[in-house]
Amino acid sequence: MSDATAQPPKAVEGALGFIDERLGSTTFFKRNVKKVFPDHWSFMLGEIALYSFIILLLTGTFLTLWFKPSMVEVVYDGSYTKLNGVQMSEAYASTLHITFDVRGGLLMRQIHHWAAILFMASILAHMLRVFFTGAYRKPRELNWLIGIGMFTLGMLEGLFGYSLPDDLLSGTGLRITQGVAESIPLVGTYIYMFLFGGEFPGTEIIPRLYMLHILLIPGLILGMVTAHMMIMWHQKHTAMPTQKQTEEQVYGYPFYPVFMAKTGAYFLFTFGVLALMGAFVQINPIWLFGPYDPGAISAGSQPDWYMGVLEGALRIMPNWEVTAWGHTVSFNVLIPALVPLGILFGGAAAWPFVEAWVTGDRRLHHVNTRPRNAPVRTATGMAAVTFYGLLWLAGANDVIADKFHLSLFATTWFFRVAIFVGTFLAFVITKRICLGLQRKDADTISHGVESGVILMSPDGRYSERHEPARAEESTVILSKENARPEAPSRDANGIPAPDTKGPLGHLRSRLARAWTFDDIPIEPHDGGHGHDEVEAGKEPKQLSH
């Protein structure tokens, strides 16, 4: 295949030569043309995010050609006859125009909206993959932080985007945004006035959000995507532990032609599925909501899913407000707006560094951890997922109450309790499951795999023969790093170890103990000890399997 004398066709050779003579690019191409991309289904989640972003740029550019970011009031007279004669903003009228008069306009609007939803969902799924497999560890902390930044910006980008059509639902979202901004102590009213150019809704907010939505934020995200990709390319992929994926090497198909073709197909799949949804699954039918009217609202108003967590937090917060010395602090708005996402995003951003500090692990990691082998991390992740998920569900408590015929207030109380209890239970249960899986792994290594073969010994006892796990399976299981024996906090001379001194040192050693104290050590099989026992029928309970 790789014939050293093979020449690319003239046209390609010419173009390559042209660039090479000016940029010296061939060195770069040579080094990267066969760059290895390890295979794992979960590595595609980030790709979906990337491709959704590209689709957002494409469809969004199309929409800007007709959208008018203006709050000037006009009287509608157009193809959607039900709203003829109704006063509305130019933004809303132009969105109706895109929907009903521009061919492909509705399709692009719907693909754009679905792509935004998919963008955020795939980022979240990708982040969960990275978290649960420990792929954020050194040297990849920077990409982890960039990812959190992109998700945060994506929330703003989405909020601003669905606010642009100036329909009743989006105006309600803006109203809530305004109410939250106003509640900020000291500067809230100033932020409110400066953001809206006066009192709500005014005439400035849509043009301003438009600028942020189509220029500033996508520009920032594009920059971060580029940095994310370049860092990933430079550092190479992580890989799940197998025989051929190690800290020293990476195994997989070359970028050109295999990965290139696969990822190209994946882009087309993403675009195809989004086109399918844009064509057949209605989203945000703004013509049914009507133009924004600050005195009107419809029941069951819901934001897009990624804002649901904030919505839920606002709903279940008790009505705490303090007025003292002529000033008002609305904890009922501030706490839900800042605390849950502050904990989740702040915690996620700090996590790689906290983990390294607690475990004292400053090594580079290219091979991922199986979630069961880091029970505290996995349990914390599941606790965060539960916390987020419950707040998210709470954002639809009226819909839940309606569909399941429950008392609305009861659903609120349920979530008020569940976000604490559920989060705690998720931690405990996940940790137990991880340790159980570790025990099973330890058993597989020390004891072997059930072969399904029943043996009868000469004295008539039956036992099932166990076989050692296959090499690949053992490699995967033995990828677990056993807890290192705890360093004594004082050495022989009674001198405390350097990192255990002071309150921080105490905290660190306590956390380090919590990280590993119930670890199940898994050692390589030492010659079939347990295996012999079974064959000799010393463990008759095995028969029950």
Partner: protein, 370 residues
């Protein structure tokens, strides 16, 4: 595993030489394929180097069929757009928008998905690349390079003189500091200062204007129709409507109309007099149980638009703050901390009028509210 008990009844062949034969009544080894599969590391998706030419030919034809389908999809997309979507003066209205959406979207999806499927089959069945191994390289530079760079860095700083000329350094920092603030100053004109804006609504202006004309207060007009409201028109208990001050439509510049509405919008509720508990100091703010509250929720400003006749609860659909209409809109449940502000009502010539502005700021709380 050195001593497999060959002599035991029903035993399988020794382990060496492959998978043991299955004994009847035991689970099929196939079930545990992940653990008992052949020793070799399973290759990821994709073919090996050797292709069976017959099956490759078949695969090629399948891929080509998908590519042709994609071609057909794109052509149909263009053909529909040019040839059909523009008939009878182009796409206008719901029916044609839906039709065009289905056709354009459907063809687009077909084209992308067929292309994607074709490429995927091509990769999996026709590409002969083999998986390869690449070394991971140390990311950090070696100590020597680091030291050399550090030396260069220090040398450069020394050469520039910035380390030994403090006056230069300090004045440079001084010069840079206000430069960073300048863009923030530029943002001042984004909006007006809050001043007292949040403390009054259009009701105040309208009442002042009406009282200057010798009237008792400003009439309430029904949102939507802008008709003044007679007490007699709103006499049945249990009713709830949205009202605005008269003159908001005419006296306010058009671009201010929504902003003023957003503050002045008010709900009017007719509560049976025997259930109504007027708050202290507001005994004459209602008219036979007809009472007016700000419609803007005191939580984050959604319109508190739902009214339950049987319980007299006002509910905000956004975050479910619930207020008791019979009891000065006291908070019954939910995240709102304060009652909805109440508007003083009276009757003049049979019409409902408001006799003053709200006595407190309407809407969400803010720092300066007090």
């Amino acid at each position: 595993m050195s001593d497999d008990n060959k002599e035991t009844a029903g035993s399988a062949e020794p382990r060496e030489g492959g998978t043991p034969g299955r004994v009847i009544g035991t689970p099929s080894p196939a079930r545990d394929k992940a653990l008992l599969a052949e020793e070799e590391y399973p290759a990821p998706a994709g073919a090996g180097e050797q292709l069976d030419e017959a099956s490759a030919k078949r695969a090629e034809r399948i891929v080509a069929a998908f590519f042709l389908l994609a071609f057909a999809g794109s052509v149909a997309f263009i053909a529909y757009y040019i040839g059909w979507s523009g008939r009878d003066g182009g796409m206008h209205g719901v029916t044609r928008a839906r039709e065009s959406n289905f056709w354009l979207g459907g063809m687009m999806a077909l084209s992308f998905l067929a292309l994607a499927a074709g490429v995927t089959i091509w990769v999996r069945r026709l590409m002969t690349s083999k998986p390869i191994v690449q070394e991971r390289h140390e990311l950090a530079a070696d100590a020597e390079t680091r030291a050399a760079f550090a030396a260069d860095f220090v040398q450069g700083a020394e050469d520039s003189g910035i380390t030994k000329r403090p006056l230069l350094r300090r004045t440079l920092l001084l010069a840079a500091a206000p430069l960073g603030l300048a863009p923030l100053v530029l943002l001042r004109d984004l909006g007006p200062l809050p001043e007292k804006r949040l403390r009054h609504t259009f009701w105040g202006e309208a009442v002042k204007k009406a009282q200057a004309e010798g009237k008792k207060g400003v009439r309430l007009v029904v949102d939507g129709t802008n008709k003044p409201l007679r007490v007699a028109d709103f006499s049945s208990p249990g009713g709830m409507i949205t009202v605005l001050p008269e003159g908001l439509e005419e006296d306010v510049p058009e671009e201010q109309a929504l902003t003023q509405t957003a503050k002045a919008v008010t709900i009017l509720i007719n509560i049976p007099e025997d259930e109504f508990k007027p708050a202290k100091g507001r005994e004459n703010w209602h008219v036979n149980g007809i009472v007016a509250y700000s419609k803007i929720c005191t939580h984050v400003g959604c319109p508190a638009a739902l009214y339950e006749q049987t319980t007299h609860h006002i509910l905000c659909p956004c975050h479910q703050s619930t207020f008791d209409a019979t009891d000065a809109a006291k908070v019954v449940f939910g995240p709102a901390a304060r009652p909805l502000p109440q508007l003083p009502l009276a009757v003049e010539d049979g019409y409902l009028v408001a006799t003053s502005d709200y006595h407190e700021p309407i809407g969400p709380s803010f720092w300066e509210r007090g």
